[in-house]
């Protein structure tokens, strides 16, 4: 059936095929779709992978890549005559510094490989054997939807994308909607600096994600499933394609569509993701209405992060209580990404609520003299190493003025200037702000500018107004990006006041 606005949904992909945004490509897509040229132009220029056609190396300037010499690598590459573009975190922090080559294939410069937990009895068991039986889906078909949701509720599963919202609420809400056209959407737009857990999950256990999605679709009575994956994840896109090929028979009643992102961190925010799916600029919507009521195409939509939905098959197999008992301070096991100054950076599945020390012990120990860590991506700001015993879970970190977020943990030792570390994170938010609302658009520019000036001039007076501006960003922004974008500076100043004193 032809959907209303079906042509609009196509324009981003068509622009990609046409090689990015040019006057000609925009006219071409306009002729193919009938969508106004201005709308295509404005949408295309929102996305970094579309806005400047031409091939070049995309070199990450995320926190960990910067800590491991991305700047000097950029210089080397440029001197060697290569075209280099600095881009936001590529989700390869364990292999820092990282880049994509001209054909968007991954090139990393770390000497080691990604470390992952050895085979275990936990929910994800990344190193375990791949299960192609789809037996949890079969089991669900024998169960009532209420029983499935009850299992989810007793498991205590919280959204693993960052918000920590109890998963079962969304499923229940979806089932209560009068509208019967419903969608399941998987958020694989993993782009929070420091985070690469969904990457490993997709590469190693994509079937857990697919099975979870199928179970969700069965329970909420949806047929169409969309997987929105960041455009920089070339290998992971292929892994999902392969997994779908391998599970054709088991999943034949569902219609899967993989949609590529095109370089916009904000599209990991669920309503911005919906806008992007609909072929628009990825600007977050006002909430309410929530996606469970009015989501993709204005229809009820169940949106889950890759890791959240991949927990579902094990919960079905072994029960909610089993899953809950895997956790230490909160329910379940959790994929922790760790990078920065540790011996073996990678993805570790551990009980939810382990401390930094426990996590780093799994990752082979600290390198050098650690002074700080960022527990949940750029959005979580920084904590002093004194908090190394704090449970890394949703509640304890929130109480400490930080957040677990996507559990992208970065450890920083005394070789790093904390003002500089804050500036790197601020630059990220400035670049990734969608520009829709003033507090975020102006605030991210202002704060980054002032910190740069402080680093240049060494005069703390440049930071005099940043706390007020940060307050307004948190109070006044539309979405979570703006709300947390001042956090790196605020937390660094709070915990590392010496780094912000007058410099010579």
């Amino acid at each position: 059936m032809q959907k209303p606005n079906a042509n609009r949904e196509k324009i981003i992909e068509l622009l990609e095929h046409a090689g990015g945004v040019t006057e000609d490509s925009v006219r071409e897509v306009h002729e193919q779709t009938g969508i106004p040229e201005a709308d295509i132009w404005g949408t295309g220029l929102f996305y970094t992978l579309l806005r400047e056609p031409g091939q070049r190396i995309r070199l990450c300037d995320g926190l960990t890549c910067q800590m491991f010499g991305a700047d000097s690598l950029a210089m080397e590459l440029t001197e060697a005559g290569k075209a280099v573009e600095r881009v936001s975190c590529l989700g390869q922090c364990d292999l820092a510094p990282a880049s994509l080559d001209e054909a968007m294939e991954l090139v990393t410069y770390a000497k080691h490989k990604t470390a992952i937990s050895p085979p275990n009895e936990l929910a994800m068991n990344l190193a375990g054997e791949v299960d192609l039986t789809y037996s949890a889906l079969k089991k669900v078909k024998e169960m009532s939807p209420e029983d499935v949701i009850a299992a989810l509720e007793s498991s205590g599963l919280q959204g693993r994308g960052g918000a920590g919202f109890p998963a079962h609420f969304k499923w229940t809400s979806l089932r209560q909607q009068a509208e019967t056209e419903r969608y399941v959407i998987c958020n694989a737009d993993e782009a929070e600096p420091g985070t690469f857990k969904d990457r490993e999950l997709i590469l190693r256990q994509a079937h857990k994600m697919l099975e979870g999605l199928a179970i969700a679709a069965h329970v909420i009575e949806a047929k169409e499933i969309y997987i929105y994956i960041r455009g920089e994840y070339t290998n992971e896109y292929r892994a999902i394609e392969r997994a779908l090929e391998d599970s054709k028979a088991a999943l034949q009643e569902f219609e899967f569509t993989i949609v590529k992102g095109h370089g916009a961190y904000i599209c990991g925010e669920e309503t911005a993701l919906l806008e992007s799916l609909e072929g628009k600029r990825g600007m977050p919507r006002l909430k309410p209405p929530y996606p469970t009521e009015s989501g993709f195409r204005g229809k009820p939509s169940l949106i889950h992060n890759v890791e959240t939905i991949a927990c579902v098959p094990s919960i079905i197999h072994r029960g909610g209580d089993w899953f809950r008992s895997l956790g230490k301070t909160e329910a379940g096991s959790k994929l922790y990404c760790i990078s920065g100054h540790v011996v073996a950076p990678g993805v570790y599945e551990l009980p939810l609520g382990v401390s930094l020390d426990e996590l780093v012990a799994a990752a082979g120990g600290y390198v050098g003299n650690p002074i700080a860590f960022s527990p949940g991506g750029a959005s979580s700001g920084f904590l002093p190493i004194a908090e190394r015993g704090l449970p890394l879970d949703y509640k304890h970190l929130a109480d400490a003025g930080s957040m677990l977020g996507s559990a992208g943990v970065v450890v920083i030792n005394d070789t790093v200037d904390m003002a500089k570390a804050a500036a790197w994170q601020l630059e990220f938010f400035e670049r990734e702000s969608c520009g829709q609302c003033a507090p975020c658009r102006i605030g991210t520019q202002y704060i980054r500018r002032q910190v740069d000036q402080f680093i240049q001039l060494g005069d703390p007076v440049t930071l005099a107004m940043t706390a007020d501006v940060g307050w307004e960003m948190e109070e006044g922004s539309i979405c979570g990006l703006g709300m947390v974008a001042a956090k790196p500076l605020e937390s660094a100043r709070k915990h590392f006041p010496d780094a912000f004193k007058t410099r010579d």
Binding site: G42, L45, E430, G435, A438, Y446, V469, G476, I478
Partner: protein, 364 residues
């Protein structure tokens, strides 16, 4: 909570600043507040457009909500309690307006520049004691090469509320302009940054009318229009039969600008087309014909009174009918006529002259 499918219309009361107000389901906090005379500032709000909640100027406290919420978009619910003035809101406004100022062209007095179309941000900034924020110098691009005769865009005065682009899309369905780029680089653009004449733009100028800060202005209008003493005269546009109402801004007996009355007041709901808004030069043009002219036997046109002109026309037409029959005549009325005038024209054709040869220039 917003319920988009809510159909039943209910009336109930809500509380704003402790004052009980009547509200109707589907209304927003700003709708109710405006009716009650309670001031909530807005910039990105236009009653003709879907609420965007983007400028954040209208944030209010809603009981039970942790975050401040946009009054322009927040739907009323029975017994809802809203606060529009508090120390928290005052702090929010002070910092937000200060941030806007750091991203805006200021005049010598340190306030946002006043344009020929005013600047609502300037008025808001007068209500606070602004923080001294350094300018952010956002790299927003304009279209300096755009040679269209009517519409000028100054990115330094743009607050990116997107009223113009939403108007162009939601009201006019023209989609000539768009938000483009991202973050601090966000600007108002056309496809390929072409001049408006090379886009779908119909030069209706509605973008100018909806712009709250004067980032979009009429190229033709005097830049000091706000301080210039003008008299406003309500008139009816005579370019077509719709009957759009116009406000003629008159200075020294000359029309210097034309606007529509506010949305919701007249049939045109705040909208005008390119002719109504911009084609007023004829009023004072030296070639304008101001009395009827009759061509004499010598071939020269001479001024005449309406009585003389009508009589000459009637005599001429009756003479043609007498010599060649009624069907040798044909009547065409103008698209500038109203329905009533068109009716009279066909009556003239059929009843007076006895022919069905009647047409209207916009009929085909």
């Amino acid at each position: 909570m917003n319920y988009p499918n809510q159909k039943r219309v209910e009336t109930f009361s809500i509380e704003i600043n402790g004052q009980s107000c009547r509200a109707i389901s589907g209304e927003t906090v700003v709708d109710v507040a405006r009716r009650e005379g309670i001031e909530i500032p807005t910039l990105c709000h236009d009653t003709r457009l879907e609420p965007a909640g983007a400028c954040r100027v209208c944030l209010v406290e809603v009981e039970g909500q942790r975050r401040l919420q946009p009054g322009c978009a927040w739907k009323v619910q029975p017994d809802m309690k809203v606060t529009t003035e508090s120390t928290r809101i005052e702090k929010h406004r002070t910092i937000l307006y200060s941030m806007y100022m750091s991203d805006h062209q200021l005049d010598e007095s340190g306030l946002p520049v006043e344009t020929g179309n005013g600047n609502q941000l300037r008025e808001l900034c007068k209500t606070i004691d602004p923080l001294p924020l350094e300018p952010v110098n956002a790299p927003r691009a304009g279209r300096p090469e755009d040679v269209n005769p009517y519409i000028e865009f100054n990115p330094e005065l743009c607050i990116l509320c997107a009223r113009c682009t939403r108007y162009c899309d939601e009201v006019e369905a023209v989609n000539a302009i768009t938000l483009s780029n991202r973050g601090g680089e966000t600007t108002i653009a056309t496809a390929g940054n072409r001049g408006l004449l090379d886009t779908t733009c119909e030069l209706c100028g509605g973008c100018i009318a909806t712009c709250p800060t004067g980032a979009l202005i009429e190229k033709k209008a005097p830049t000091n229009l706000v301080t210039l003493e003008t008299e406003v005269t309500r008139s009816t546009c005579n370019f077509c039969g719709v009957g759009c109402q116009l406000d003629l801004h008159v200075h020294n007996d000359r029309v210097v600008k034309v606007t529509s009355p506010e949305p919701g007041e007249t049939v045109n709901d705040g909208n005008l087309c390119v002719k109504g808004r911009f084609a007023y030069d004829f009023i004072h043009h030296e070639d304008r014909i101001t009395t009827p002219l009759i061509r004499g036997a010598d071939g020269e046109l001479r001024p005449a009174s309406w009585e003389e002109a009508l009589e000459a026309t009637a005599n001429g037409l009756m003479a043609v009918k007498a010599r060649h029959g009624a069907d040798s005549l044909g009547f065409i009325s103008s698209s500038r006529c109203t329905g009533e005038e068109n009716y009279l024209m066909q009556k003239l054709s059929r009843a007076v002259f006895g022919t069905n040869n009647i047409h209207q220039c916009a009929a085909t």
